[in-house]
Amino acid sequence: MKLVNRHIERDGSGYVTLRPEDDEDMWHVYNLIAPGDEVRALAVRRVQTVSSTGSSDSYRVRVNLSINVTKTTFSPAASTSNGTGQEKDREPTASLQISGRVVNENDYVRLGAFHTLDLEANRDFRLTKQHGWDSVALERIAESTKEGRGAEVGAIVCGEGTASICLLSEHMTVVRQRIESSVPRKRKGGTSGHDKAMESFYKSVYDAVLRLLPYQTLKAIVIASPGFTKDSLYDYIFQQATLQSNKPLLNSRSKWVKVHANTPHVHSLVEALRAPEVAKMLQGAKFAREGLGLEKFHKMLATDELRAWYGPDHVALAVDRGAVGTLLISDDLFRSSDPATRNHYVEMVEAVRARGGEALIFSSMHESGQQLNLLTGIAAILTYPLDVEVVEMEEREEKERLAKEKGGGEDNEGEEQTVKA
């Protein structure tokens, strides 16, 4: 993404002009735009005129429209790309739609009319935040406009008869295709059914790889499966490549890695990417860090339950006590339509960082982020053990004391710390 223009005041008000370039940029933009924000971009609007005689006429005009956002929708792979492995520049496949009311009137569009903007790649748009730019939003802009994007990795998670072909970038895992073919299992009197079905299964995976994975530009391509499927698939792919003398594919051989996974489901990507041979190739890519962070949390939960907390209320308590060493938070939480809620999480991130802690913002487009979402979207590894129940009790007592002092009037802070018993 290109930062075309940036005009942000000290108090956080102001606007930026951005030019998204690929799928991942669309994801960043989706995370930046919140309901209530103002977006100005080029739009195509159908205008209808009714003449004095009653005949109507409609035509399209290209106008710059500013809208007050009410809804955003993101879809990671709206169109199937026709990019083959050889092609260098792929068309972005993600699409982002922003609907809202028009705030600037012009000759064609009345004030308050609804419009849905279709943000496109390589086209500028201007974003003004309703509640100002906070640190998390600014960080995202900095991250997304950084030159030299991190690793892009292809992955095939497979088992007998099932395969998912995925593309991973810093912030997104996109399942490009799921292949499922029924493979008869072995039975007495011949295994030809099984062998035939496996052959055709490998073939369809091979075809999908050629069609969907830009293996020339990818940093690495991971084949993950339980058992021996990965070996058989790897052998098949290169045997076919040799037969068809597909030079580019043969040249990419060094980038292909076979990794053990425990299941053929997409969610075992997390463990596959943790494998040392892959981690080495990715060198601290964001999704690898996220996976490790989540693993650390689970390990802590096993070894010292008092140092692994999750759930928004509990984690908020831990942050208040300055106990959080690593904060794991999903970007889903920042997408809240309620600015107060978003602010609450932003403050938590800032508080943790101010105390020298680490705050990992997980992308919910990655499997690790989705797993974090399942754990309420927020978790923390504490620097020292704290018992949830003791803390909750203290909090309650504190609140009662405050309530007594203020004569029943609860202040805002107390409200925020309310915890379900």
């Binding site: 339980p226 390990k299 096993a302 399942l374």
Partner: protein, 629 residues
């Protein structure tokens, strides 16, 4: 606070449940039934359409052979049905008080079948002496009415529910009659021939010699021909794996032979004097546990093969070995009896000390895993040499071992009671294309969890909305006119595209399809695990041959000895039993949430068992308590 204790607790519960289902009537009760039955029938003589024997028996049982009360209840019930003439009458299962005998619901729906299928009972009724019915009814009415009021029988069920019930019992009549006769016939045949069907799963750590032992057994029994054996010997020698000659009899896949590892379940069968055994040879490698689960879900008895050679037993038994996990798995999938074969005893020159060491190590573990000591048998053997498989012809062994051989032990294993009366359920473990001339077309195989299937039956494939006809039934590679619960069958179907069938599809009667579930509550027992279970843990759910990503979406409670000790806990640690809510995970990028055909354990035990795995470890076993969505 050991894990073992918890294990035992849960299994006790399961055991008790087993018993209650098996309990029939005692002989005394049967006698009472026999005496009160004709009286009740006579009293109800004037009722048209006649009431079925089963319904009379049921109400007699409920009122503990109090003829008067039973008759009153039946009359009242009958009147209610007559009142709604517009629809074919149907008794709601709930209208019989819950206290009634734990009998399949089918019997209480019997009255509705009467108009269409007159029974023999109606003729016998006519001949029996007419008693003064009206008086009895009148005198019993007031008391009975009070009783009934107390039981809330008169409370109207809401309309929707009644419709649902009606829907549920439609189409039953025709099937029912035939089924009853068939069940009786099957039971009689079993008694006469003295042969019972049983499924045996072979489990154990990788390279313990499971396939080899089974290959040897089949060869000794003549199921594996000399010709095949010789060709396997030659083939395995050629690739430098001479010791795999017997295993090749079962490991037929190219990959399996190349790598010398069983990958998928091999199903075959053999017969002992008193048992027809369906043999399921499971892979031992941890990557192929899904296949092993699919096999274990079809088994009644387990044969655990343990490597007796130095160091190997320990490797398989310690953490990371498959021996423990396999034992837990088969137990939680409903296997109650286990035979432990200590293999490769020839490598330790038939040392009695070694044998006893292993037995001592395994015994307490198996008890802790929930196998009763009386249902556990140990035997020393050598698979390659075939010693103590069919007969014990090794002198060194004879000197200290005079117990049974493998085949003798298998001949004596107990056959569990089969739920013939429950609605048919066949979870498919394989879908393929039949290739022989007699049996071509769409073929599926699986085990009947419950019920009975005949040639010509129409079966619904769930998930999906397709109905198939059963063209041929194959049991143990012979065609059969019918198959009953507990048998492994291959069905050849017509009228269905194989695209609608997949491994994991459940075949059911068209009238009583199994529900598709996306969210349910299960009672789980947590095994050895590395990280505890918290709400939101991503897991894989295993149910028969299905394997789906799911999450533990809520921890409801922790219980100990059946009593809830903590509500909404934060974590479940190993060894705990608890109630959790499990939801299937939707696929990425929206789309339809997957669903799994499932029933509560109370409705159908085999369909209500699930296993939960994470990162290649089985972390919990559960039974479905309640279906939410």
């Amino acid at each position: 606070m050991s894990r073992h204790r918890f294990v035992r607790n849960m299994d006790l519960d399961a055991e008790m449940e087993d018993d209650s289902e098996q309990v029939g009537m005692s002989s005394e009760e049967q006698a009472r039934m026999a005496t009160s039955m004709p009286i009740a029938r006579a009293l109800l003589q004037d009722v048209k359409p006649p009431i079925a024997d089963a319904a009379i028996a049921d109400s007699l049982w409920h009122y503990w052979f109090d003829v008067e009360k039973a008759v009153t209840w039946l009359r009242k019930d009958w009147e209610r049905k007559v009142a709604k003439v517009s629809q074919p009458p149907s008794v709601r299962s709930a209208s019989l008080p819950a206290k009634s005998r734990n009998q399949p619901v089918a019997s209480s729906s019997k009255p509705s079948t009467q108009p269409n299928t007159p029974k023999k009972s109606s003729s016998s009724k006519a001949s029996s002496s007419g008693a003064n019915t009206p008086k009895v009814a009148a005198s019993g009415l007031t008391v009975a009415q009070q009783d009934l009021a107390g039981l809330h029988l008169d409370d109207e069920m809401d309309e929707a529910e009644r419709e649902r019930e009606k829907e549920r019992y439609k189409e039953r009549p025709g099937l029912n009659m035939k089924q009853e006769e068939l069940i009786a016939k099957v039971k009689k045949e079993e008694e006469e021939s003295g042969k019972q069907n049983i499924s045996l799963i072979v489990v154990g750590h990788v390279d313990a010699g499971k396939s080899t032992l089974m290959g040897r057994l089949l060869y000794d029994l003549g199921e594996l021909s000399e010709k095949e054996k010789v060709s396997n010997e030659r083939g395995s020698k050629r690739v430098g794996k001479g010791s795999f000659a017997f295993a090749w009899g079962l490991d037929a896949l190219g990959d399996e032979r190349d790598r010398g590892v069983t990958i998928d379940i091999a199903t075959t069968h053999f017969a002992t004097p008193h048992r027809n055994v369906t043999l399921l040879d499971a892979p031992g490698h941890r990557d192929f546990i899904p296949a092993m689960i699919s096999g274990a879900a079809q088994a009644d008895v387990a044969l655990m093969v343990v490597d007796g050679s130095p160091g190997e037993f320990e490797a398989g038994f310690e953490r990371g070995g498959q021996t423990r996990e396999h034992a837990w798995l088969v137990r939680s999938l409903g296997v109650k009896e286990i035979v432990v074969a200590i293999n490769k005893m020839d490598l330790v020159s038939w040392s009695q000390d070694r044998y006893e060491d292993i037995v001592e190590a395994l015994k307490p573990f198996l008890v802790s895993a929930g196998f009763a000591a009386s249902k556990t048998t140990f035997l020393p053997l050598a698979a390659m040499e075939g010693i103590n498989v069919l007969e014990n012809n090794e002198d060194t062994l004879k000197s200290w071992y005079d117990g049974p051989t493998l085949i003798d032990t298998l001949d004596k294993v107990e056959v569990p009671a089969r739920p013939y009366d429950s609605p048919l359920r066949i979870p498919l473990s394989n879908v393929f294309k039949g290739q022989t001339a007699v049996a071509s077309g769409v073929a599926v195989s699986g085990r009947l969890c419950s019920g009975i299937v005949q040639v010509g039956d129409r079966l619904r494939a769930v998930p999906g909305d397709e109905v198939a006809n059963v063209r041929t039934i194959e049991v143990d590679e012979d065609s059969a006119p019918y198959a009953v619960a507990g048998q492994n069958v291959t069905l050849y179907l017509s009228g269905i595209d194989p695209i609608h069938l997949a491994i994991g599809t459940v075949l059911c009667p068209t009238s009583l399809p199994v529900r598709l579930v996306t969210r349910f509550v299960a009672q789980i027992l947590v095994f050895d695990l590395q990280t505890p279970i918290i709400a939101g843990t991503a897991v894989e759910l295993f149910h028969h041959s299905m394997n789906l990503p799911a999450t533990i979406s809520k921890l409801v409670s922790i219980s100990e000895k059946g009593a809830v000790t903590k509500k909404s806990p934060r974590v479940l640690q190993k060894g705990m039993t608890g109630l959790v809510e499990i939801s299937l995970r939707p696929g990425q990028g929206g789309g339809r949430t997957p669903s799994v055909p499932l029933e509560t354990a109370a409705d159908n035990k085999e369909m209500g068992r699930v296993l939960i795995r994470r990162a290649g470890e089985t972390i919990a076993a559960g039974i479905v308590q309640e279906i939410l969505a």
